[in-house]
């Protein structure tokens, strides 16, 4: 089956008993077995079955199968949020004394997780600029346990050379973790470019409607855990082969951290996936139109959209995303005051901390999602005081154009 079909049918062939075509919501904590031996066999791994929704759930399992198919992986674990997904992966791979290499310009929450939260457990993170891929080779050492990048860094809009970074990672036998949240499998399947693990915040484009928080971890099957440097996962591979990493999560890290997906949220993610392909086309079309509009506007100081042919990442966008630049862009109006007035003047676009909604969303990153970072740290993360981030929605573009044009005019008029 092709991706558009898998997005609609993957993981669920219909309910044989009732004929229901939507995946049933298994709103239950636990699963009863008729005999003590049956439950003991499930606990012992001798028989398949569900035990407890913190570990696995039928609705969530359908989502996991569908995401596995869309990312062309070997398995998936859905989580309570994107941050839970990244935390689970990092804590599975890194121990005290180990190191992480991550791209600068990735989501501030991920930087905080690596530097602040995991830093408390003596895991060190080195941030490197993705513009020059050699930075990854220079930063890697024998303590490096994972390299983490986003397909498009948010909000710097940097596009890493994924296959080149994968090569560097694999030469050092280090897994490459790729956050595919902002591009989704409909712009890129990171497995095809050497990614070993793919993570998602499914709350964004996959959900698509701003109605549920969730995340996902997909093992692409590229990394051979039997030959890896992770002794506990390597030991597991003796019994479960390539599934060792996911088993390590399911039966230890993910299980113990408790970041499980809620069944209702998994249902909403499944629904979102069904229309993801069509939405991504419109997100990209509208974002490119808006980027061009802003680029030609005399009052706009700068625009950063990787889908523009003038972007320094244009070649990578062509190679990795088939020329589609995604639904996110940033632009500047010269100073913070104008940025605030612009946001206050918008009538259609919503001012909030999210992205990937069907609706057009804006935010002033420096004073919100990056407020905990110092000005110097913000600068290194590509966040400027005049920056406005836009998650371009799927509304009729003429309405987006009219809203942005009037808000830009008001941002400047009131400065007089």
């Amino acid at each position: 089956m092709k991706a558009d079909t898998l997005a609609v049918h993957g993981g669920f062939g219909g309910d044989n008993e009732t004929g229901a075509t939507a995946v049933p919501i298994s709103q239950t904590v636990s699963y009863a077995y008729k005999t003590a031996q049956e439950l003991a066999d499930v606990f012992d791994g001798k028989s398949p079955g569900y035990i407890y929704t913190r570990i696995a759930n039928p609705t969530t399992a359908a989502l996991e199968v569908r995401l596995t198919q869309l990312e062309d992986g070997i398995g998936c674990i859905a989580t309570s949020s994107g941050m839970a997904a990244i935390a689970s992966v990092a804590m599975s791979l890194a121990r005290a004394g180990d190191e992480i290499i991550a791209a600068t310009g990735i989501f501030g929450g991920t930087v905080s997780l690596f530097e602040n939260t995991l830093g408390r457990f003596n895991v060190k993170t080195t941030l490197v600029d993705v513009v020059d891929t050699n930075n990854f080779a220079n930063a890697i050492n024998n303590k490096t346990k994972l390299i983490f990048i986003e397909t498009i860094g948010n909000p710097r809009m940097d596009v890493p050379d994924i296959p080149a970074i994968a090569e560097i990672a694999h030469q050092a036998n280090v897994p490459l973790v790729v956050d595919n949240t902002v591009t989704t499998p409909f712009l890129i399947k990171p497995v095809e470019f050497g990614a070993d693990i793919v993570v998602h915040s499914t709350s964004k484009f996959i959900n698509g409607h701003g109605t549920a928080i969730g995340g996902a971890i997909i093992d692409t099957g590229n990394y051979d855990w039997r030959k890896g440097t992770f002794e506990d996962i390597k030991k597991l591979s003796e019994s479960v082969g390539q599934l060792a990493f996911l088993a390590h999560l399911r039966n230890l890290i993910y299980r113990d951290l408790g970041g499980c997906a809620a069944p209702m949220n998994s249902f909403l993610m499944l629904q979102g996936l069904e229309t993801l392909s069509g939405r991504m086309v419109k997100h990209c079309e509208n974002a490119e139109k808006l980027a061009r509009l802003l680029q030609s506007h005399p009052k706009v100081s700068w625009v950063n959209y990787p889908g523009l042919t003038e972007s320094k990442f244009s070649n990578r966008v062509t190679k990795l995303f088939d020329g589609r630049g995604g639904g996110l862009l940033t632009f500047g109006l010269g100073n913070k005051q104008r940025a605030f007035r612009f946001i206050d003047s918008l009538k259609l676009a919503k001012n909030l901390a999210n992205l990937g909604d069907a609706k057009t969303l804006v935010i002033h990153p420096a004073s919100t999602i990056f407020h905990e970072f110092s000005p110097d740290e913000q600068k290194s993360m590509g966040v400027s005081d005049d920056m406005i981030r836009v998650s371009v929605g799927i509304e009729d573009f003429e309405d987006i154009r009219a809203d942005f044009k009037q808000a830009i005019e008001r941002a400047f008029k009131e400065t007089k």
Binding site: L236, S239, G241, L243, N251
Partner: protein, 71 residues
Amino acid sequence: MNLVINGKEKNIADSLTVSQLLVQENVKMPDMVSVELNGQILRRTEFEETILKDDDKVEFLYFMGGGCGIN
């Protein structure tokens, strides 16, 4: 042909696909099973097109519960 299924030798009909083997072996929860063929996990989309050969080693794996015998 002879297959090794979950570590046990078994004689089955020739030219069976993985999908057909799941049905023939009455594998529990077939939507959730992962299939390892000769040490490599198969993509679910490969189940229907993968034809089994003599001496293939097949493992049916689940990682959905306490599972995998690693608790």
